[in-house]
Symmetry: C2
Subunit: 473 residues, 2 copies
């Protein structure tokens, strides 16, 4: 119910709300057909709850987003903002009495300042499109989530997305200098800066990054870039007789003080799934493969690659090879990129995203195997191993409630194990809906109270994506 100031409560009428919304958004970009409502009702997370939204808005400007938020606010309708909907935690799932506000049509790269190494873009620009646009100017935007072909910069920022090169170059938030946000009252605020440094006021930019659209809707971003030149990629690859042995190699790289530009793990289940699909000639008998890159130039880079290869061999790695040719390096990483779609062919995939201290990677991998055995589920592993960020993928049998229940139990068990090892329950996918329980255990009551206070401060009526990003305390 909407309360009129000083008056009687008024019943919510969907028709009246939609009529008002039509004043803010042209017909072609205000979708209410069942097909659209279904398509936009959820992101890529398996088994996270959702309901159909009242409408879908394809916004084209910050001002339009602000107008939509104001209309929604007048009717006490919640706003779930989203980019491409590639999230894996349910953060973009529609909630009761909500509209989905998609920013995918805001895909303009506004300004590339090559001298300053800064780019301004709209939130709906696709990650790969941004990289391509800045590469023309000799610049590099490092954060590279596996979804980079589809996911948007705004969504990347709202979830603080990671990726493969983050082990050396950091995550999305490390590149966000400033942003334009639409706040819960429909006002527009410009946060952050365009300079290399800045210490004026609270870091509200960092507060918005990773807040999953619960504190404001990011419509434009100012991003820091690196020079594209000055790196030479060398690949190092090895196969291992056990997950634990591969984990020991990862821990050894960390102990040796090596900063790889990528250090990825894929296990036997993934290798087989990719190979049966694509026939890349991958080893079927290896329990795990590590794929690494170093990008220091010249002899230093070559020496580092050799040193990493030695550490791989010392940890029990076989068939350890290095590659200098960029195409050869690329081929090595193809199996990694194809792992997720290859596994999705086998059944519904429940994606974990735990992150443990790097030296705990062997122990965590062992515990994941134990969880699979104990709960009788198939768990495949891909991992940004160099970050300690593991993605055990729990593959369920379609339409088998008992199997689904066992998968959920294994999911919960892995979260408990990760916390016991000093880890965090969401390395790069955010909390969304799937990690609310884990986040509750991780954060504790006082820190959750701080979350409630800040949410109340910036969105007192709980209009922006309520129920996501942090649990009730």
């Amino acid at each position: 119910m909407t309360t009129i100031a000083g008056g009687l409560p008024q019943l919510f009428t969907e028709d009246v709300f939609l009529r008002d919304l039509r004043h803010a958004v042209p017909a072609g970009r205000l979708l209410t057909d069942a097909d659209a409502l279904g398509r936009y009702a959820h992101d890529d997370a398996a088994w996270a709850p959702f309901v159909p939204p009242l409408a879908v808005v394809l916004a084209t400007s910050t001002e339009e987003v602000a107008a939509v938020v104001r209309v929604a606010g007048e009717h006490d309708v919640r706003i779930v903002a989203r980019g491409a909907g590639t999230g894996l935690s349910g953060g973009a799932n529609a909630v009761d009495r909500s509209i989905v506000l998609s920013l995918e049509a805001m895909r303009t790269v506004l300004r590339i300042d090559a001298d300053e190494r800064v780019v301004d873009c709209e939130a709906g620009v696709v990650n790969d499109d941004l990289r391509a646009a800045v590469a023309v100017e000799g610049l590099w935007y490092p954060p590279d989530p596996a979804s980079s072909q589809w996911s948007t910069i705004g969504g990347n920022a709202a979830t603080n997305a990671g990726g493969i090169c983050c082990v050396k170059y950091g995550v999305t938030g490390d590149y966000v200098l400033g942003m334009t946000v639409v706040l819960a009252d429909g006002s527009i605020a410009r946060l952050g800066r365009r300079t290399a440094k800045g210490t004026v006021g609270y870091d509200l930019t960092a507060l918005m990054v990773g807040s999953e659209g619960t504190l404001g809707i990011i419509t434009e971003l100012t991003l820091k870039l690196l020079p594209l030149a000055g790196r030479e990629e060398r690949g190092v690859i090895g196969v291992f007789p056990s997950l634990r042995a591969a984990g020991e190699a990862v821990a050894a790289v960390s102990r040796a003080g090596i900063l790889p530009a990528a250090l990825e793990l894929i296990d036997r289940t993934c290798l087989r799934a990719v190979d049966e699909w694509q026939g890349l000639g991958l080893p079927h008998d290896a329990e795990a493969m590590l794929l690494a890159k170093v990008d220091q130039v010249g002899e230093a880079g070559a020496a580092l690659a050799e040193r990493m290869a030695t550490l791989f061999r010392e940890a029990g790695g076989t068939d350890v090879r290095t590659a200098e040719d960029p195409d050869a390096v690329d081929v090595l990483f193809r199996a990694r990129r194809l792992a997720y779609p290859a596994l999705e062919r086998l059944g519904p995939v429940l994606t974990e995203d735990v992150c443990v201290p790097r030296t705990q990677v062997p122990e965590m991998l062992t515990r994941i195997q134990a969880a699979a055995a104990e709960h009788d589920v198939v768990i495949a592993n891909i991992a940004h191993a160099g970050d300690g960020n593991l993605h055990p993928l729990i593959i369920a049998t379609p339409d088998d409630p008992a199997a689904e229940a066992r998968a959920q139990e294994a999911f919960a068990r892995i979260i408990d194990d990760c916390l016991a090892l000093g880890g965090t329950v969401a390395g790069e996918h955010g909390v969304g809906l799937l990690k609310l329980h884990g986040a509750h255990d991780e954060l504790g009551p006082r820190v959750l109270e701080m979350h409630e206070s800040i949410k109340s401060a910036l969105d007192p009526r709980r209009l922006l994506n309520p129920g996501k990003a942090f649990p009730k305390h």
Copy 2:
């Protein structure tokens, strides 16, 4: 006045407050003598207002800080937390009805995890002491404010301090993974994580960094470290016929996509002041000197140093030299480190801290010279030029109110110019009290409202360092 719940207002009695405080803090660490109150009443900022505090507490544990905050809260007494008091914006200045809570006695490095490259330490650990402790384990803590000999890690985090190597390696906040904070109600919260990545909940760690003790009191920190090895420092130095020419060299380095590990500027006034004090044989006729480092290893590093030297020459630099020997590099940077104390010998120094886009450095330096001429003041320049972070140092005549007024006018004029060029009014020294006016112009009313909301959410009674970090809107 303290209001008793449901009762009559009660007059504040300093004696009663101090009696209660004595229950929380042993006598030797609760200072109330005039000398101590004077010494702890302010930081190193010239001309920022302060009053003597009611007491000074030298805390030794998180629990003690929490107890002090609770006692202060019961008496509506404000708490101004500080480290070594080396701040240059008045952020640690005592306010009306406050105590100063010093964390300088909390100087234990709690745990160095060399394999994980993470250190836990108390907030009062001195920056240089932390670097020395982790260096023993082959690790490097990069942020290096000029005050590193004295300033504490907690103070560095509370102000998000920068330094010389930040041009390549980032500022304090980029290394803070987690922290223990005492909140305004005297409760203790653990924020952040120990893992390489993490996306659980709001980034409250980043919110605390740079908040100048207005949202919580940082008592312990978990910091990310880098390997000490893998770098080879090469120095590049050049003298320039004008500030603008030196600025053009800085902009050229940015345009060329070079990431120096340091790129510092010192002008003629500084060169003379240092040389007259220390007799280093510095050039007296140069208008400016640039001091740079690159730290890529091997031939790549040598080539980069040569390329930077060429850019210096093309911008009009003379006597351009490179140095590979670490001691020789160190000598080159001695003048930079001595510039501030050398200038302080000449009179009270009003320190600016503007940060402009790198390509605006030449224009900003020109405007600073114009401000000096127009307001008839001496302005010396040291700058983290590669970041666009300039420190025009306005040197006033002691005990000359007219000169002081002219200095203040020049200070305000430089802030306006910085904003006109797309800059920020506080690159690395924070807002404190000196930049409240500039922050007001920079942030605008809606963003200031967000600050007020967040302050109210976490410190509703305005007990923690009120009036700092952001202005009223």
